[in-house]
Point group: C2
Chain length 128, copies 2
Amino acid sequence: MEFLQRTGGHFSVEEIYRNVHKAFPSIGLTTVYRTLEVLVEMGLVSRLDFGDGKSRYELSSGSGGTHHHHLCCTGCGRIVDYQEFLEEEKKVIKNIEEALSRKHNFQINEHQIQFLGLCYDCRPKEAK
Amino acid sequence: MEFLQRTGGHFSVEEIYRNVHKAFPSIGLTTVYRTLEVLVEMGLVSRLDFGDGKSRYELSSGSGGTHHHHLCCTGCGRIVDYQEFLEEEKKVIKNIEEALSRKHNFQINEHQIQFLGLCYDCRPKEAK
DNA sequence: TTACTATTGATAATTGTTTTCATTAATATT
DNA sequence: AATATTAATGAAAACAATTATCAATAGTAA
Ligand SMILES: [Mn+2]
Ligand SMILES: [Mn+2]
Ligand SMILES: [Zn+2]
Ligand SMILES: [Zn+2]
């Protein structure tokens, strides 16, 4: 938790392990997996998937993180957090959640929104 | 493609393989992986991730599929497509895309929106 | 026909994650 | 304190989805 709080990033288990292990060399990879699982269950951490084959974790809004969405570069994997348009989004999302909830008899707990594209560096020259 | 068109569902590679292999027993799993990769590149098929550890594929809107978003049950994995509120969503999404694009210098190609929750069957009794 | 190239599928290798299990730490009970 | 009981831990093995390898085959050009 301290590592996620300090860095505020999106990290793979391996990355988290390496970092935590540096400070507490007795801690093993399995414990990192197990602990993350619990933290996600508790709602303190969010598991994310950006399509690179490994889960990533970040501080959830339930534990000091900001509620935000993601902009992902499919070229290099760069992730940009954004929350600027949340106000505008919020209303619509709320509406949709309620309507979907009613219509499909779902209890909606969470949503994930991500925009995929190419960052400036990854764009081909002629598209710049 | 024919299988995805006919069924309109979200299938894992294994599921697609089993089905295609029934009709064309000479086709191997590797070819299914390779072909899906190409189809995704071509924009005819979308790769989705619902967090169950395997990629799923569906017909993309670029090839006859409807543009829609997803409602996912974290209990049983059930997926509901919805598009009812796209009109309302569309405007906001368009705005956000433009603003993000400008601000972060991204070329946005795609977005994914999913709501996570529990379907009626998976909800605990007292929450019904 | 023949030479060359591209595609295929079986198999092996890789990789993120989960399971297993013996060891250790923590807690409860004498 | 001493002992029994239970829970937490990490190393190693097992697992599962995906990717790489490679010999065989199909397709194309000469
Ligand atoms: Mn984030
Ligand atoms: Mn769908
Ligand atoms: Zn990039
Ligand atoms: Zn369900």
